[in-house]
Chain length 217, copies 2
DNA sequence: ACCTGAACACCGTTCAAGT
DNA sequence: ACCTGAACACCGTTCAAGT
């Protein structure tokens, strides 16, 4: 049973971190977050063992929100527009949060919250993709993992101009989506990644950060 | 006229930085680079006013190399495969260099070397895209700027699995390329970015880094 | 003219001292 | 049981002292 002030501080830190990360990206200092939350720097580390862990918590929450959106869309009448709306929601996460873009590329799936959220995302993406595939609106060699990586790609494509042309990502989402249609499909040179691929990538990332810590001692 | 040892040191620093950045990404310390180059930390700053400047020099060189590849491809017999090979060369730059991915997303075009290289890239991309468009192999609403942003996107899509499935990017390159074909083309919701958009984005980036420096004083 | 390494202001993280 | 702020090892950057 946590103390009342501790629970309040935890929430303050999460809210402050959430806002600061969205506005300034992964490079915001813990000092800034602590100041915004009205606590001492040490208190942040009292609730979260490291900055990476704090980021993982927030990232996991955001992804879980996207999973919820996806689950609602599984019952939509039009499987094609449901898939497109799911991808749109995914990109909006990137567009509204500077740190989400950076974290999506760099975060380690070793953290269980990130891992759970990612697996939930893969699952719902596969559901939506399967429906669209069976309805014949997308080509039959595209998987849920592809979809997750591709809306990520659309967001990253537009990111360099994000402040100047705020909705440019819509252009690349639609361009990529046109590539998913059966009309233009040609044989792809490499197979879709498997769940196992994602897991071994997670293990590699974990090993490499451990190496880095060791090197610095 | 630079002193002989100074010229040699400059080269050593560039070579060391080039290798370390490719292997470990933008986060490598100047200390590591200096050690590899066999010089004192201060010597690095003697040749390059800041880490950002050193990165800009190397990034500009890499992009210039890609421009040269693109220029050779302008005379290729098949405009479609010339464009595809250009995009392939662009992604290979990302795949072989961890820092290139990160820099492509974060680097400021305020630096004249980056700016010149980027403008050269935009030019040659537009040449190749124009030929492919006139040959009817890609849709007519796609520009050279789109192409640059899109091969970037394909590289970023595959990056999370880069160590596990090294040639996964080929899958997304071809998937995106299929979206460029006229067969699947539908009206896009947002216009292509203009050169002016890239320039105002560069000015914004410059202003925001200046703010950050000021805030820290 | 350039190289060097000590010094500075920052960062994430730890921890003894408080309540 | 939790909060605090001083202390630590790192980082990029500066600069006086050397050659």
């Amino acid at each position: 049973m946590p103390r009342a002030d501790a629970a309040r501080n935890r929430r303050s830190v999460l809210d402050a971190a959430s806002a600061e990360l969205a506005a300034h990206g992964l490079d915001v200092s813990i000092a800034r977050i602590a100041a915004r939350a009205g606590v001492a720097k040490g208190t942040v580390f009292n609730h979260f063992p490291s900055k990476e862990d704090l980021v993982a918590e927030i990232f996991g929450d955001r992804v879980a929100g996207l999973v919820a959106v996806g689950e609602d869309l599984r019952d939509a009448v039009d499987p094609g527009s449901a898939l497109l709306r799911f991808m749109t929601a995914g990109i909006e996460l990137h567009a509204n949060d500077r740190s989400f873009c950076e974290a999506a590329a760099s975060i380690s799936r070793a953290d269980p919250r990130v891992r759970n959220a990612s697996e939930g995302l893969a699952q719902v993406a596969e559901d939506l993709t399967g429906r669209a595939r069976r309805a014949g609106v997308i080509r039959d060699d595209v998987t849920g993992h592809d979809i997750v990586l591709l809306f990520n790609a659309a967001a990253q494509a537009a990111a360099p101009l994000g402040d100047t042309v705020p909705d440019l990502w819509r252009r690349y989402l639609h361009l990529i989506f046109d590539g998913l249609r059966p009309e233009a499909a040609r044989q792809l040179p490499v197979a879709a990644p498997t769940t196992e691929d994602f897991n071994t990538a997670a293990r590699h990332a974990q090993a490499s950060t451990r190496d880095q810590r060791t090197r610095n001692r």
